[in-house]
């Protein structure tokens, strides 16, 4: 069963602003990255998935349920971590997460147990009894994640979970999300405007821009075919290019570099052989893993 499926999903706000335009996408369970610039429609999509906003037209299914007609059943199985500050400063994390667990329908004692478990999983221990107002940004983000986890959802919707964190905090948060998605058996949709960040932990990537789908695919499908070798020689670049072309290797020029698609390990040998035969000074030869960003780089930016 698909985790999330939309069909021609369109959302137009009053005043004529189109947030989502004819979005059709199907994602399978796992860690899903939803990337797009600010204003691309990520938050609107999340609100529609939660049944908080009705779509203008089109179909949407979350965990096989329709959030427009069964919002309660969807929300019971989904955990949501909002982008913005969302914690009352005067309550302790333990008390607050317990309370929200009860709002999700957990019995009192279960809510308390699961709250401290959830807080432990995100890495908050004794500090959970202190008021949230005194927490660092990183700790607050963890509490927000814990409250999304407390009722044991089947799907987590995380809106910019690394917002406001320093590099170390970002790495820790991404590692945590990766653990939730792989070890806990919970599917995760991570929203981010930073492609380089989500591509490290995602199985599937959905890119939207201006409310339209750019691309949705499994991340290995996106990157595996695009590994290339970068070859740089101090002189004789033209000769080498001609020689490699004669060896039926697909070669591209990029400045002083020659880019050769990496088919298998023989490619290395062929290139080294060619360089040796021509007696050229080899500057460097390294494998370049295409960043997913390059897959979108050719698109014109739709707005500035």
């Amino acid at each position: 069963m698909a985790l999330i499926a939309t069909e021609s999903l369109t959302k137009t706000y009053r005043g004529g602003v189109t947030a989502l335009a004819d979005l059709t996408v199907v994602v399978e369970p796992g860690i899903v990255g939803l990337v797009g610039a600010n204003g691309a429609g990520k938050s609107t999509l999340i609100k529609i998935l939660l049944g908080l906003l009705p779509p203008t037209s089109g179909q949407v299914r979350v965990l096989g349920l329709d959030p427009t007609t069964q919002p309660d059943r969807v929300r019971a199985r989904v955990g949501y971590m909002p982008e913005h500050e969302a914690l009352p400063p005067d309550l302790s994390a333990a008390e607050f997460v317990t309370h929200l667990g009860r709002i999700s329908g957990l019995p009192r004692t279960v809510a308390r147990e699961r709250a401290s478990e959830a807080l432990r999983h995100v890495g908050l221990y004794e500090e959970r009894y202190r008021p949230v107002g005194g927490y660092s940004t990183g700790m607050k983000q963890r509490v927000k994640l814990a409250q999304a986890l407390v009722h044991d959802p089947d799907l987590l919707l995380l809106d910019e979970p690394t917002n406001g964190l320093d590099p170390a905090g970002r790495d820790a948060m991404l590692a945590l999300i990766h653990r939730i998605g792989t070890e806990f058996g919970i599917s995760v949709l991570v929203c981010s405007h930073l492609l380089g960040e989500v591509e490290r932990i995602c199985h599937t990537l959905v890119a939207i821009d201006g409310g339209r789908l750019l691309r949705a695919d499994r991340i290995d499908a996106m990157t595996s075919a695009t590994d290339v070798l970068a070859v740089e020689v101090s002189e004789g670049t033209e000769e080498l290019a001609a020689r490699l072309a004669a060896l039926r290797l697909p070669v591209r020029r990029e400045g002083r570099l020659l880019l050769v698609e990496l088919a298998d390990d023989d490619t290395y040998d062929q290139i080294l052989g060619a360089v040796a035969e021509l007696d050229l000074p080899l500057h460097r030869l390294d494998q370049r893993r295409h960043r997913v960003a390059e897959l979108f780089a050719t698109r014109e930016p739709s707005h500035v």
Binding site: R75, A86, L91, L100, S104, H121, D152, E183
Partner: protein, 292 residues
Amino acid sequence: MSESTGVIHDIGYQRYTGPRLGRGPVFGALYLHGLRTVFGFGRSAKAKIFPWLVVGIVIVVAAVVAAVRSQIGQVVITYAQFADTMSWLIIFFVAVAAPELVSRDLRSGVLPLYFSRPLARSDYPLAKLLSLVTALWLLLGGPQLVMFLGAAFTLEEGPRGVWNELLDLLPGLLYAGLWAAVFGAIGLLVAALTGKRAFAAGGIVAVFLMTTPIVGILAILPSQTINELAFLASPMTMVNGVGTWALGDLLFERGEGLPIGGLGPLYAFAAVLLVAGCVVLLLARYRKVATR
């Protein structure tokens, strides 16, 4: 003994397969949380000062009234009059409690966490309203119970006297309920409009304060109908008007009630309309807030 090796095992993440409660218990959890919030439970010591100061005042007043009555045998304040006497204290209590219940959540951005859960949109404001009304009713009704107990143990008329006291107490408690509903509904609606607690508190006091002079002006206009309708202009005098009509001499000495003529039922109707109107506006407000 051999079992306890002192090693903590990380048993990893546990899925939850137990029961998930429905709308009723969830509403109850939110309601109780609100009631605790009003009295500062589960919050800092600072948050407990004001509510418990007010609780202290009303209980002491009730105890003194009961003591005076047992000593000199005269009723200083009837049960129903107690609510009227305490009305300004209650207004300040509402001005502190209502922003605590709703403005704080608006401000801190907590609401998306509520509305992304299987909680009906209307349940959040209704549970908060019920918490506030309950708190106010306890504040006005609890001391009446103290007065009743004081009277019941000192009366010399036996069971019949206690029964008569009870018949006086019950209308007093109902009247306290009316106060609680009117004050709670208005206070929560005003507080739900802003995330700034100071603004909310000021707004609530202003609603009650500013409407009182209007009553004064309308009451001296040269028209008997307008004079009799004048007390509708302020929530406090409106409730007084309902009391005059429904409770009569339990609330006022004969002939001393508000001069509302035969318009008593209209006052009762207006009070119901006011509360219903506030609830409708409150629900509309949260329908809008929930989609943000």
